[in-house]
Amino acid sequence: MLIAAAFCFMALRRLISHYWLISGRMTHPEELVNETVALVTSLLLLAGVIFIAPLFQTIKQAAATLQRSKEELEGLVAARTAELNEVNANLATELEERRRAEQLLAYYAEDLKRSNAELEEFAYVASHDLQEPLRMVASFTQLLARRYRGKLDKDADEFIAYAVDGANRMQQLLNDLLAYSRVGTRGRPLVPVDCNSVLAKARANLFMSLEESGAKLSSDPLPMVRGDEVQLVQLFQNLIANALKFRGANPPEIQIATQETDDSWIFAVRDNGIGIAPAHQQRIFLIFQRLHPRSEYAGTGIGLAICKKIVERHGGRIWVESEPGHGATFYFSLPKGEPQ
């Protein structure tokens, strides 16, 4: 406003001096031109100031509007930030909870692993250390039998025979328990293994039994898997030996076939033996479970339990499909061994 008044004052002064010039003595025409220019300039300035004032007003209003929207926006941002903070806090809590749950899970997994390892170590140590005193019992009852059979009375011979038999069986059980716990405690790392060579080794180990029983053992070309070769040989060997042991009236015929899935191979070992009733198909994989009296089939009932443990150590599964009298097919899965 002050500026506007100053321009008004200047314009008025120019107007007066101009009037003076025109009406009074016109000494210099240049002066007149100068004064005219100055007057026009002043008038123009005045007009400018008069126009600028409402412009200022508009600007001021715009600024106010801007200020308001800024405040509104700030409010909105603050609200949004608060909301976000809340969500973040919730997320942090959730994360913390999840982390804790994961920690707990890891702890339980570790605990389970440890107790499993302890259990296996226990079985190993127990069977190993039990061997020593048992060896004494077995050795001296055997020595008794060797030196005194027929020299005491009939009862004594019978008692000694039972003692020797019991000690021998217990030794077998301990050996088998040791073998079973070794699957977990003494296993080698899993590496690519050619199952054809695994089968060849199992076949060589079973050469005598295969010959004696007149068995026919045939197989598809077998794939590479990731495994512990020693254990895989034992797996094949146990399954084939079972097929020979539980054979039917005809010479044993054993076929090995495979089927590929996304990440593993499924092996099928099919025989023409006596088969297994559905009621027993789970039980046979448990340690020291037998379906027949010892007088019919020898053994402690460890073979399939070891098979199960080997397959599970490889991350696979084992099961059987069978009908009594129509043979049995044992299936197991093993992880693929070739580079994907």
Binding site: Q131, E132, R135, A138, S139, Q142, L143
Partner: protein, 149 residues
């Protein structure tokens, strides 16, 4: 070249074993063998070294022709006894047969590294045990030429 073959003296065997049952079984098995022998037994590692160095109660002990050494012994373990025998320039010539229940690969490796002369796992079965003792006797006391005393 005076092996023991020309001599008629019995073979001296030192058995280091803490289980009397095993000592007796070994004796019984040796009884069935054909070599005349004197078996001496000690039941821990320290006693074994005292026997070999003729210390204390063992001042009159004979020098053994063969040592049967168990690994799991009280006081000094079989490995420690073996190490001391094989470090001793006078004793290191005596063959040491490790006779143990352990089938652990680490035990086998460790004892051979300590210059054990052979490593035998005690068979569980009596018949096998007797066979093994007889084969130790046959190999070390009749097949092999031992160093002169």
């Amino acid at each position: 070249m005076t092996g023991r073959r020309g001599e008629c003296r019995p073979i001296e065997i030192l058995m280091v074993e803490d289980n009397p049952g095993d000592v007796r079984l070994t004796l019984e098995a040796l009884k069935e063998g054909k070599v005349r022998n004197n078996m001496h037994t000690v039941s821990d590692g320290e006693e074994a070294l005292a026997f070999l160095r003729r210390q204390g109660a063992y001042a009159q002990a004979p020098r053994p022709d063969l040592i049967l050494l168990d690994l799991n012994l009280p006081k000094k373990t079989g490995q420690e006894v073996l190490a001391e025998i094989k470090e001793d320039p006078d004793l290191r010539r005596i063959p040491v047969v490790i006779l143990t229940v352990s089938e652990a690969e680490t035990d086998i490796l460790k004892t051979y590294n300590l210059h054990a002369n052979c490593y035998i796992t005690k068979p569980v079965d009596l018949e096998r045990f007797i066979e093994v003792v007889k084969s130790i006797e046959d190999f070390w006391l009749t097949v092999v030429m031992l160093p002169p005393k």
